[in-house]
């Protein structure tokens, strides 16, 4: 099936889409949004400088019709969600957002009810538009670069005035896919740097239980729990956290909780998917080492 990827030039996001595209074709085509060289090898590549979704929809629709693309892939990101829905109307095409699984015969899965249920859909018409939820597909290794031809924009509806980059340490807890949280069991403020290292290596954020915040080891903005942030990461490392219900309430939607605690009776193990009964000071440094080796 003729597949088109529309994405920013960002290797991880692009890599995940390439992985998904292999379910549909050998080699997808690509519209790169923004400036820069396009990593990976694509059949055809177009490039558009304008990064505002609203300005791209019309011309993308024309391109898709002209080239006869059957599958259009985007990430479930600000750009992807800005393009997908209007594009579907323009093309009278079906759109499925936040896809987390692809099965044969154009069957896709997506979560409902805050992840408490998963729905399976069959796409009945081409072209079909899919936005892919991040972190559900392993990013393909992108070899080499592909030359692109420019895609022109006919009408600029919305002007971009400024862009602000936030530092990586500022990944909002609510958005983080990996959260490394510490509690009173961490023992001291300086030990949180260890958690920060794990978080950095996994592109995650550091959280804390109320105990650690109370001790003044971390900022209140980092508190996870009923009286802090309600988070829904893929992996939640609970290190030295006993697992008070107020804390558990904040991580009810975490997919996988990894608990590291000395006390095997700790409540957190009831909520955990993986448990390590040990002093975190023995485990976390080697975890950092292992991650560094693999990187």
């Amino acid at each position: 099936m003729k597949t088109l990827i529309i994405e920013m030039i960002e290797p991880k996001r692009l890599g995940e889409l390439v992985t998904v595209s292999r379910e549909f074709c050998e080699q997808p085509d690509m519209v790169a949004v923004g400036a820069g060289q396009i990593p990976g090898s694509f059949g055809k590549a177009y490039q558009v400088a304008d990064t505002v979704a609203a300005n791209l929809v019309s011309d993308l629709a024309s391109l898709i019709l002209k080239e006869g693309y059957e599958i259009v892939l985007l990430t479930a990101s600000t750009l992807g969600s800005g393009i997908a829905a209007p594009l579907s109307v323009k093309l009278s095409a079906p759109v499925v957002s936040e896809v987390i699984g692809i099965k044969p015969d154009l069957v896709v899965e997506r979560p409902l009810y805050g992840g408490k249920a998963v729905a399976t859909y069959k796409l009945n018409k081409m072209p079909a538009i899919l936005t892919i939820r991040r972190k559900y597909f392993e990013a393909a290794d992108l070899q080499g670069f592909t030359d692109s031809s420019p895609l022109s924009i006919a009408e600029k509806k919305v002007a971009l005035i400024a862009e602000k980059e936030e530092k990586t340490e500022g990944i909002p807890l609510e958005d983080a896919e990996v959260i490394v949280s510490g509690g009173r069991g961490i023992g001291a403020a300086e030990n949180f740097t260890m958690l920060q290292d794990v978080a950095d290596l996994l592109n995650g954020a550091v959280g804390a239980s109320r105990g650690a915040v109370d001790e003044g080891w971390v900022q209140p903005t980092q508190q996870v729990g009923q009286t802090g942030k309600i988070v829904a990461p893929g992996v939640y490392f609970a290190i030295g956290i006993s697992g008070a219900s107020q804390h558990l309430a904040g991580i009810a939607n975490a997919k996988c909780v990894v608990a590291i605690n000395k006390d095997e009776e700790a409540n957190i193990f009831k909520r955990a998917r993986f448990g390590i009964v040990s002093d975190y000071k023995k485990i976390v440094p080697v975890l950092i080492e292992t991650l560094k080796e693999e990187a």
Binding site: R184, R210, T227, A244, S245
Partner: protein, 657 residues
């Protein structure tokens, strides 16, 4: 030989004439207070209980004990004695002065015989000494060693001048007496006067000095009297009035708000909800503010003020007092100057009003402001707002809870309440349903009641009593929830309710009757005690020491102190924390502050530390919120689980058998 009035004084009657303008000034000052207080709303409590010892709006017993005897002031023994000396001394001196007047006017024979000896001479001298001692105590403390409660957030000026003036009056009085005795000979009983006369010796200069001093003493004494209404000493008149009018029921009660005028389309004037300015308060509240002495006893016991939070009950009341004094009754920037951050720090524990010697109802004032912030201005801290929304949407405030409504009883066999068959409704309440740690209380209670053969049942579905909404200031939300509950209860014919949460108990007993819901409500601690008494439950008194924490809503607000202690005592040895019973320190969770991002020191840690400091084996309480807050607070100090509800401890003993 008797004393001759106006001895050595010419035209002494002039002093009586001078008294007239002074009395006018005095009453003008008092009228000023009335004029300010009058600006409040007239609020007539329709369901005034016709209790014994109550005449019109006056609670005689309170007037006599708290108002006149000033019983509360002796909680601080030194201040109490000093104050007692000053006050009762002045009462005796005033009586003596009146008797002198009666002697002058009607020839009442007070200057003769034993009465002259024991009262006019000895008692008046002794009273003068007591007053002088009190004055010295207050001056030294206020000027040299002021405790924090007097200075935070600020001290009242105006005490020292009038107290000094009074000191001079007393001293000149003694000098006059000494002069008189020096010239006329020893007056048996007047030990001060006799002593001074011996220092003076005899001489004409003493006659002159006596004359001048007599006039100075007279003018100053009358000046002092006239000055009282314009000085902090006016409390000696206002406190008894405030005490007479204060509802003696423990704890603060927020009356109902009639929302019907909002429903009525024709209604021109909509009532202000809560209070934003002085004019929104009742006259009783304005009397509170006028009465306040700024003594700071409330500040000293306030869990918020003592843990570095922006609220001080004294600060609130004195801000209002100053505002009232300045005549800014319509100034609605008042609520902003108090700041909503501070107002929402109140845990409604009522320790302030318990400590207040002037019978001021601080929590009610704070709650009125909260009501205005929430119901008129949508201003509420974010987490409390979330709890409020959850109450509205789900009927419980525990947003984000990981528990379903039936999780607490999934491993238990709990009967449902059946109309006509079941005697007691076991009311579970929201914290017990939705907080994992608190769920154990219900499990224990079910075990105990089954063991004791009590006829009880639970509701299939329930909602919160509305207490958190009410304490956060959302009276409207409370009324909605309460009305729905009352309907449900009458459908099922519920008459007797056992509560596990004092907040539910307080709602059912204090607020539901006004909405038409009348039930016999029994807190679980009281019920456990009655099971023990009836022999349907027997416990072994073990060697464990158990410390009991009084929940504010059971203790201070409902005066239930003994029953839980009796239950504790039948399981182990009861130990007390330094602050216990009506002086108990809040766990920090009341007034919606369970859902607060606390600033400063955490109240629950302060209290948990105090409890752990007793070295008791267990710390018992009888409120799920206290249980949750203290359990959390104790984590800072120990890894052991030491804090239990009394029902859990009872159930534990049953299981061990």
């Amino acid at each position: 030989m008797g004393r001759t009035p106006y001895w050595n004084i010419d035209l002494g009657i002039l002093i009586d004439l001078f008294a007239l303008p002074m009395i006018v000034i005095f009453f003008y000052g008092m009228y000023g207070h009335w004029k300010r207080i009058r600006q409040g709303k007239v609020r007539v409590n329709l369901d005034l209980s016709k209790s014994a010892g109550k005449i019109g709006p006056v609670y005689l017993y309170s007037l006599l004990t708290k108002g006149i005897l000033g019983t509360k002031i002796y909680k601080k023994i030194y201040t109490g004695v000093a104050h007692g000396g000053l006050f009762w001394g002045m009462v005796v001196l005033l009586l003596g002065t009146i008797l002198v007047f009666l002697n002058v006017l009607f020839g009442l024979p007070v200057f003769s015989g034993g009465f002259n000896h024991w009262f006019m001479a000895f008692a008046l001298d002794f009273a003068g000494l007591a007053v002088f001692g009190g004055i010295l105590f207050f001056l030294v403390r206020r000027l040299l060693f002021p405790p924090e409660r007097l200075t935070e957030p600020k001290s009242r000026t105006g005490f020292s001048p009038i107290v000094l003036l009074l000191g001079v009056v007393i001293l000149t009085g003694f000098v006059v007496e000494g002069g008189r005795i020096a010239c006329n000979g020893i007056d048996n009983g007047s030990f001060m006067g006799n002593y001074l006369s011996m220092m003076f010796g005899k001489g004409d200069e003493w006659l002159t000095l006596h004359r001048y001093m007599w006039w100075i003493h007279g003018f100053l004494a009358l000046g002092f009297l006239a000055y009282i209404p314009y000085s902090p000493l006016v409390h000696l008149l206002l406190v008894p009035v405030n005490a007479a009018l204060a509802d003696p029921m423990p704890g603060t009660k927020m009356g109902l708000i009639d929302f019907s005028s909002f429903e009525d389309e024709e209604s021109e004037e909509m009532p202000v909800l809560g209070a934003a300015k002085l004019a929104d308060f009742s006259r009783k509240r304005l009397l509170d503010y006028s009465t306040c002495l700024w003594c700071g006893r409330c500040h000293e016991v306030c869990p918020a003020a003592q843990t570095g939070k922006p609220l001080s009950p004294k600060g609130v009341i004195i801000t209002l007092a100053e505002c009232l004094q300045d005549g800014r009754v319509e100034d609605d920037s008042l609520i902003d100057s108090l700041t909503s951050e501070a107002l929402f720090c109140c845990t409604t524990c009522a320790a302030c009003m318990e400590a207040c010697p002037a019978l001021i109802n601080q929590p009610k004032t704070i709650m009125k402001f909260r009501q205005n912030l929430v119901m008129e201005r949508s201003e509420i801290p974010e987490l409390m707002g979330k709890a409020n929304s959850s109450l509205e949407l789900r009927g419980h405030p525990f947003f984000g809870t990981g528990a379903g409504p039936n999780d607490w009883c999934k491993d238990l066999d709990v009967p449902l309440f059946e109309e006509g068959k079941t005697e007691y409704l076991l009311w579970i309440g929201c914290s017990v349903t939705y907080e994992e740690r608190a769920q154990q209380i219900a499990g224990s209670m079910v075990k105990i009641l089954s063991h004791a053969g009590t006829s009880f049942g639970i509701l299939e579905e329930f909602r919160c009593t509305g207490d958190p909404a009410k304490q956060m200031g959302n009276e409207f939300q409370f009324a909605e929830l309460a009305q729905q509950n009352i309907e449900d209860f009458s459908d099922l014919g519920i008459k007797k309710i056992i509560t596990m949460c004092p907040h539910c108990y307080n709602s059912f007993t204090r607020h539901y009757p006004k909405l038409g819901g009348n039930y016999q409500v029994i807190p679980h601690s009281v019920f456990l005690k009655s099971l023990l008494k009836a022999g349907r439950l027997s416990l072994n008194r073990e060697t464990n020491t158990i410390c009991y924490h009084d929940p504010c809503y059971l203790g201070r607000r409902n005066a239930i102190y003994d029953e839980p202690r009796d239950v504790v005592n039948s399981m182990g040895k009861l130990v007390e924390m330094p602050r216990n019973r009506n002086e108990s320190f809040c766990c920090g969770g009341g007034g919606g502050n369970y859902w607060a991002e606390e600033v400063g020191t955490r109240i629950n840690q302060v209290r948990a530390e105090e409890a752990l400091g007793t070295g008791a084996d267990f710390i018992a309480t009888s409120c799920p919120f206290c249980l949750l807050m203290l359990t959390d607070g104790a984590k800072k100090f120990t890894e052991d689980q030491k804090i239990f509800d009394i029902a859990e401890l009872v159930a534990l003993q049953l299981e061990e058998r």
